[in-house]
Symmetry: C2
Subunit: 228 residues, 2 copies
DNA sequence: GGCAATAGTTTGTGATCAAATTATCTATGC
DNA sequence: GCATAGATAATTTGATCACAAACTATTGCC
């Protein structure tokens, strides 16, 4: 058990509430595979884990439930969602719909500096892939996609997409934890080429391939009967 | 096969927690125009208003903030969002993207009984339009759309769309409160015709017209300089 | 008379506590 | 040996309180 201590930053004058810090930490852990799908969490357990009282955890958890990052069952217990194949397919098509749209919108606003930034992120992803750093890869992948999407300047759509990402986050870790990062093809290279040449059709194809790779892996893992 | 199962199927006598009831009431008020855009709400105020303590309100409000139905400012105060024209346009295009997709998916599963149910809802909408019952119209409109979308069986997309509706709910009331329901054309008639004839193209056109009418009204109202 | 400092009020935040609910463990009967 | 019922432990839920930040209105000063 890792006990993390939350302390207010002494240098920053902006006081960020504890429930906000708890929210960020929990969302990060969910997004990047800190929890296993289907596992139950308790308020007191999380509170002890994070070194805070139960109250801020309550608010953060309530928020994460609303964002589909956590699931509240009829028993009043909170779970990491264990998605069915059907739901995975729904997320898959929703991602295709929304993220392609976001990427195309972003392409219009994208500067050369932005492309360079994306390339930098992608190089860090390559390093993570080589060293087998699963969490590093997941963080890099998230950063790559949302850096691109942020250039669309469409905060509304971005929030919806983030809503999807927190749902399959725990599964991504499962997939990579099982099959490793070795046989992962970096689909971002083609996306970068499409961005450089301002090719909408190629960008759409690259993104759909990238999404299909990720969600396809998840779908295969779901169908396996064995559990960890 | 003996008596009752202990742990799983005890949903019959489901006791609904107070924070859940508060959430539903507040969401309804937001969806159907019970609050004005830009207005601040207070936890104690809402608690007194609903006749409950502050704690359940805190949880419900935190949840609504996560769903973009309420807005948490840096002052830590909670507001009904006052959307800019830019955000309205983002919601507009997001609605077009998602709701057309949902309607087309629903069309595949739609039975004749479903179409009859939609027609019944639409007749109630007509009554509301004639009597100038703004809230009745808004509830009927919501019911019509989400009955249709529910037949898509895509819970994930539906949640995303509901996330959009709570955002423009307060503005709809502003629009209809200002211009009345008299000059509202019922766009659902064309949608119903398209559903009956299973015409995808016509359905898309009808839905886009319906969405454009609503969001167009909002956009016009936004641009007006006067405030209530 | 206008502006800034200040006191009083309001409000969100976090902690603590009691009651209700659910899960887990244990013992008992068949 | 297995299932069921009761007892115990763990957890959520809702209420209350203390505190700090923010807002309002007043007062005092130039």
């Amino acid at each position: 058990m890792t006990k993390t201590t939350l302390h207010s930053a002494s240098t920053s004058d902006a006081v960020v509430p504890v429930h906000e810090q708890v929210y960020q930490q929990l969302r990060d852990r969910i997004l990047f595979g800190g929890f296993l799908p289907g596992k139950a969490v308790t308020l007191r357990g999380l509170a002890d884990d994070l070194g805070v009282s139960a109250m801020p955890v309550r608010e953060a958890v309530r928020r994460l439930i609303a964002e589909n990052a956590l699931e509240l069952h009829g028993n009043r217990r909170v779970f990491i969602p264990d998605l069915s194949e059907k739901v995975i397919n729904e997320i898959w098509s929703a991602r295709r719909l929304l993220e392609v749209e976001l990427a195309l919108m972003a392409l219009k606003n994208l500067s050369d500096d932005d492309i360079q930034s994306l390339q930098d992120i992608d190089e860090r992803i390559d390093v993570s892939l080589e060293t087998g750093d699963v969490e590093g890869y997941m963080r890099g992948n998230y950063e790559f996609h949302f850096y691109l999407y942020s250039q669309s300047k469409s905060e509304v759509l971005i929030k919806l997409v983030r809503n999807l990402w927190v749902q399959f986050g725990p599964f991504m870790r499962l997939v990579y934890g099982r099959s490793g990062t070795a046989n992962l093809e970096d689909q971002h290279k083609q996306a970068l080429e499409a961005l450089k040449s301002r090719d909408q059709r190629a960008l759409r194809a690259a993104l759909e391939a990238d999404i299909s790779q990720g969600m396809g892996f998840i779908q295969e893992t779901i169908c396996l009967p064995d559990k960890v």
